[in-house]
Each structure stands twice: as structure tokens, then as C-alpha cells.
Symmetry: C2
């Protein structure tokens, strides 16, 4: 296996100006591993409740996602509800039922421990560290986190950051983590904490990567309709890490292509609710969108 | 003359986290014409009060800005005060003293009337139309407007839009003008109003151009410090129109380069207060920043 994804699986109940869903498949591990599955062999470590429908398991298997690390616990699956505002830039969380996710303690199956690429989704830094402690020598560790952990468990977060190569955060999280509102200064401060590669997610505007004193920007792909932004960041991470794992290297050109494939996958994800748009993608569609990204930013000196 | 700029001249009193200024040179016509002066022969139509210092006139002359259209009226010059919030994305207007700008009625000198490229800064649409009525046959008319006119004088705005080739607005203005929150749909609606080329300014995130069913994105240039965002949009317009006027054509490649030169000039403007950073630019700096923009978005298929 090339890529291991550790994170949540859950049901999402989402309301946007374009529709409403009840208990659809969601969670970091799902969005990320499904996106990555288009590029590489991916496995996941996650937990679901006894109410988790077999057809979701079948779907993940159909994407060749290795589910050795999926555990089923007695109880209900994580369930999250949110309503997006008219412009989709903001949302209100309506409820968060952690359910069995509260007991999540990621145990890494023996067969996964030498996986070279690792994505640590947004969970408690102590759990992220618990994963790292079980891995033999991951080549690239990418990590997502959020304000809750930056504020609440800064010491645990600092420890895991020291072992992280790629940090994915949004503007506000970068500022909160470093006390620096300027993204270049924040990235430099993050470099000193461990991560060499800083990806700043900018939502509807795209994402920037700061690495080796270079700044690369991948604008978000313009769509006629964004149906549901849920999972965009995790899908981005899946495309990014999936492509890196496939390439099995992290030179400048590969990293930039990974940013674009991540952005391309995220642009598909938001076209529909849940993982609907990611279910039946074909590689031609992904390649065409990659080319469309290229066209969107291309210009030449005269 | 290749480019005519019509708009405000005033004093700006600005406070940002990086400093505070009192009555520094500002206004659309200033930022726009100074930026354009690095590319082409530009003239302005604007009005100042009797208190307008001669050294500002000398500065504009030193940039080869034609001032035949600059009128001095009895009274005080337009004066605007604003304070930016910590993250620079929002500002509070502290005061707006229109002064002589209230009497501004743009009379176009005979020698300006056959100018091929025209930028109509954000003034009342009826005044923008008054300018158009005096021009013989401008090749490219670009227009800026704002929520105040979109709400207040929609019929006047509709008339002038029918004669406009390039509309520059921000996300919110595009949505307000068209009732469409989606930028692609808003741009299509704007096309039907007249402008073939729609530029959506996204502030700290950059700018997008929608033209001929193509979407081009120029991200904002990352800076270690943004000292004062005032005038960024007008400076962008100056670089954009200045480059177009110099090229004297509007094919796809030229328009895209104009977007990048506009973004480059704006990135200089915000590095310091007022027009300080634009005073002594040399063309090598502009070319280097153009190349840096190229590098910032470059990636190749493997």
C-alpha cells in the first residue's frame, strides 16, 4: 500500500441553497481515500458504528480502498449536521454527535505500518502521535488540524508537527498557530515547527503552497454551481497525497502537479452532495480538469 | 495620447496596522494614471481644489501624465479618511469630504476626444455617460462602479454599460448587479448588459477575467507586508489599461498579460502608503514581478 489515511467516517446531514441531505456518507477518511484511490493504492484507519450500512463498505471496496483498518464498534456512527449560508462561505454546525468516534483510538494494522505516505486527518494531536508511534518510517507525513487543537492542546500539536512534512491549514489556522497574520511569515514560522511544506487552503479562492522559499498558487476551479462544499479540503488532501504517493517523490514539479490534482478532485467533490460526484469519475475527466486548470492560469511573455 | 483616465483626485488620510498618514495624494485618477504611465501615454480628467499642492502636480508631470484635463476649482480638494482592520480585508470610512469633487463635471479637452482607450473611474454613471458623449469613438471603454450606483441609479448605469467593453467589479458588486451569486453566471448576465470582458476583483486573493467563455485567474502576489491596500483596484486598472493601450489590441494573450501587469502594479502599490511605491519604479522591477507571477502559477504536465 502506498498511502494510509487516518480520520473520521460519518454521516453528514447537510443543507445548502441547492438541496438537503440526510445521513449521507461523509468524513475525512472517506473523502480523502476515495479521492486518492484515483491515483494510488490507499488504505484507511477509521471507525464506524454498528449502524453503518454495508453498501457504504461495498462502495469503498469498489474504489479499491483497503479496509483492514476499518473497525466497527457497538453504537452509532459519527453524525454531523450543518447548514450553509447563501454564499456558501459560512456554515452553521447544527449538531455534532460523536457517537463511536469518541472512542476512536487508531490502531494501525501490521500490514499498514510500513506505508510510505501518511495522511493524518483532523483528530486530536495525541491520536495523531499515537499513529506515528506505530509507523516504521513514513516517508511523507501530511497533517490537518484546526483551531480546537491549536488552542486546546498546543503541546501535543507541537510534538506531532515536529514529525510532519506537510501541514494543511486555512488562513485563520495558520495565523492562530503562529500569531502571524501574513501568510508568508506564518509559513516561515511553521517551517520552524517542523513542516517543510505548508499548504494554505483558501476555500472558494483555492490553495497556496509555500515550500523552499517558493510560493505556488492553485486557484479554485470556477463552477456553474457549487452544490455542497463539505469535504472539499479532505478531497484536496486525497488528490494531493494520492498523486504524491503514485509519483513516490516530492520534487518541485511533482508537488505543483499534486496541488493541481488536489484542487481538481476538490472541484469535482463540491459539484454534488456527499461523495456522489466522486463515485464514478473516470481518469479522462480528471486529466481534462487538470488541463483546464493549466489553461486557467496560462499566460506568456510576449 | 493612448489612454484617458477620468476619476477622482483627493487626499487620503489612512490608518493601517503598519502606519498612519495625513492628507497624502490619492484618488482613482492618480493611482490609475501613475500605474498606466509605466506603459503608455496617459492623460487625466479630474478636479482639485485651490489647496492642491504644486508638488503633486509636478510629480504627475514627472510621470508624463498629461494634465490638460486637470481643473482647479475654488475650494478644498476631496478628502477621504479610513481605518483598516487588523487583517486589512475590511475598513471603516472615517469621513468623506467631497469638497470640490461634488461639482465635478468631466469636460473632455478637444485634444483628448479621439483617445482610443478610456478608463471611467467610479463616479456617477450619468457623469460617465457625459464623458462618453464627448468622445469621438473610443476603441476600448473600461468602467468601474460600486454598490452605491448599482442601487441608486440602475438606469443610468445600464445605459453606460451598453457602451462598455470591460467592466471591473468585485464579487459582491457582480452579484448585486446581476442577482447572481455565482461568478460565472454573473459574468454571463453582465455580458448581456454590454461588457464583453468582465474582471472580478477579489482583493487579497487576486482577480479573475471572464471573456469569450474563458476564465483566467491572476492570484494576488504574496508580500511580506501589505502596508496599505488603498488604491489597489485603481492601480490594477491602470496597469491593465496601460498595457492594453500600449499593445493597442485585445487578443487573448494580450488581455491575459494585461491582467498580470495590472496585478503586478497593484502589488507594488500596496507595499507602501499613497503612491509612494509607484513613484520611482523602474521597468526592470515590473518585468521581474511579471516573471514572478508566471513562476507562481507555473506547472507542467509530467
Amino acid at each position: 500500500m502506498d498511502l494510509l489515511v487516518v480520520g473520521s467516517i460519518g454521516f453528514d446531514s447537510i443543507e445548502t441553497p441547492h438541496g438537503k441531505t440526510e445521513k449521507q456518507l461523509g468524513g475525512t477518511a472517506v473523502f480523502c481515500s476515495v479521492a486518492a484511490s484515483y491515483f494510488t493504492k490507499v488504505g484507511m484507519v477509521a471507525t464506524v458504528g454498528s449502524d453503518f450500512p454495508e453498501h457504504h463498505v461495498d462502495f469503498l471496496k469498489s474504489k479499491n480502498v483497503d479496509l483492514t483498518g476499518l473497525t466497527k464498534l457497538d453504537g452509532e456512527t459519527f453524525h454531523w449536521g450543518a447548514r450553509y449560508h447563501h454564499n456558501m462561505n459560512r456554515r452553521d454546525t447544527l449538531f455534532t454527535h460523536l457517537n463511536v468516534f469518541e472512542q476512536f483510538s487508531p490502531e494501525i494494522p501490521q500490514a499498514y505500518r510500513d506505508t510510505p505516505f501518511l495522511f493524518l486527518g483532523n483528530i486530536a494531536p495525541s491520536l495523531q502521535m499515537h499513529v506515528l508511534d506505530q509507523m516504521t518510517a513514513p516517508k511523507i507525513v501530511a497533517l490537518d488540524t484546526m483551531n480546537f487543537w491549536i488552542e486546546g492542546t498546543p503541546d501535543d500539536l507541537a510534538k506531532v508537527l515536529r514529525k510532519t512534512k506537510v501541514l494543511l491549514v486555512n488562513d485563520e489556522e495558520a495565523a492562530q498557530l503562529t500569531g502571524e497574520g501574513n501568510q508568508l511569515k506564518a509559513a516561515k514560522a511553521i517551517n520552524k515547527m517542523g513542516p517543510e511544506i505548508v499548504i494554505i487552503k483558501k476555500g472558494e479562492h483555492g490553495a497556496a503552497m509555500i515550500h523552499d522559499n517558493e510560493y505556488f498558487y492553485a486557484p479554485a476551479f470556477p463552477l456553474d454551481q457549487v452544490s455542497d462544499p463539505t469535504g472539499a479540503g479532505d478531497t484536496f488532501a486525497g488528490g494531493f497525497m494520492g498523486y504524491l504517493a503514485k509519483a513516490s517523490r516530492i520534487d518541485k514539479g511533482t508537488l505543483r502537479r499534486a496541488m493541481v490534482f488536489g484542487s481538481a478532485m476538490a472541484s469535482f467533490a463540491v459539484e454534488n452532495f456527499s461523495v456522489e460526484r466522486l463515485r464514478h469519475l473516470v481518469s479522462d475527466e480528471i486529466d481534462q480538469r487538470f488541463d483546464a486548470f493549466h489553461e486557467m492560469v496560462s499566460f506568456e511573455r510576449e
